[in-house]
C-alpha cells in the first residue's frame, strides 16, 4: 500500500469554526488531491496540487482552501465550516496524473 496517512481520522466540529485536515505521504509523489465522498455523488475533486506551492481548483472548491509547503504534506482548510461540508474526505497521491492511490479517509461532522 502507498504510504498515505490522514489526520485526524474523525472530527466533530461546530458550524462557523475553522477546520484543517492533513494528508501526509512518504512516497515522494508529485501530485496530491483532496476529494469528498457523499452518498449518491461518488467522489468529487475539491483541490489538487501538482507540486510544492502549485495548486488548482477542482469541481467543488467553494468554501475550501489548500496549501502545500513541502512535498509530503497537503493541507485542506475549511475556513468556516458549514453543515453541507459534513462528508468523508479522501486524500490521494500519484506520480502522474492518471494513477491515484488513496488514503484511509477522514470523517468530518459539522453540527
Amino acid at each position: 500500500d502507498a504510504g498515505i496517512t490522514q489526520s485526524p481520522r474523525h472530527k466533530v466540529t461546530e458550524t462557523g469554526t475553522p477546520v484543517t485536515l492533513r494528508c501526509h505521504q512518504t512516497e515522494n509523489h508529485r501530485y496530491m488531491y483532496w476529494y469528498r465522498q457523499d452518498p449518491g455523488h461518488g467522489l468529487r475533486l475539491i483541490h489538487y496540487s501538482y507540486g510544492v506551492k502549485d495548486t488548482d481548483k477542482g469541481e467543488v472548491s467553494d468554501g475550501y482552501s489548500v496549501s502545500r509547503s513541502k512535498t509530503e504534506d497537503f493541507l485542506l482548510t475549511l475556513e468556516s465550516a458549514t453543515s453541507s461540508q459534513t462528508s468523508v474526505y479522501f486524500c490521494a497521491i500519484s506520480d502522474r496524473y492518471y494513477e491515484q492511490f488513496f488514503g484511509p479517509g477522514t470523517r468530518l461532522t459539522v453540527l
Binding site: Y97, Y98, E99, F102, G105
Partner: protein, 112 residues
C-alpha cells in the same frame, strides 16, 4: 468535459454467479480508465487500469475489464463472485494532463 456514468446504483448477485458492472465515459482524447473498489469504512483500492494496448485488462482479485472505444465503455467483469466481493465499485477516467473523474459508484451485494 470528461464524465463517467455508472448506470447501476445497486446490484445484487448470488455467490458463484458471474458479474458485470457497467461504465460509460466521455473524454475528448485517448482515455486512461480505472476501476477502484471500496469496502465499507475503507479507502479506495485500485482494481485495474487501462492505458493502451490490449483492450482486455486483468486486475487483482480475479477481475477483468474490457475497453470498447466504439461504445465508450469500460465494463468490469468477474466470472464467479465471492461474498468478500461485496463493496462499492467506482469507475474513473482521466488523461495525461487531467485529474481523474469518478463515477457515482455501484454498490454490489452478494447473497448466499
Amino acid at each position: 468535459a470528461q464524465s463517467v456514468t455508472q448506470p447501476d446504483i445497486h446490484i445484487t448477485v448470488s455467490e458463484g454467479a458471474s458479474l458485470e458492472l457497467r461504465c460509460n465515459y466521455s473524454y475528448g482524447a485517448t482515455p486512461y480508465l480505472f476501476w477502484y473498489v471500496q469496502s465499507p469504512g475503507q479507502g479506495l483500492q485500485l482494481l485495474l487500469k487501462y492505458f493502451s494496448g490490449d483492450t482486455l485488462v486483468q486486475g487483482i482479485k480475479g477481475f477483468e475489464a474490457e475497453f470498447k472505444r466504439s461504445q465508450s465503455s469500460f465494463n468490469l467483469r468477474k466470472p464467479s463472485v465471492h461474498w468478500s466481493d461485496a463493496a462499492e465499485y467506482f469507475c474513473a477516467v482521466g488523461g495525461r494532463n487531467t485529474p481523474l473523474v469518478f463515477g457515482k459508484g455501484t454498490r454490489l451485494s452478494v447473497i448466499a
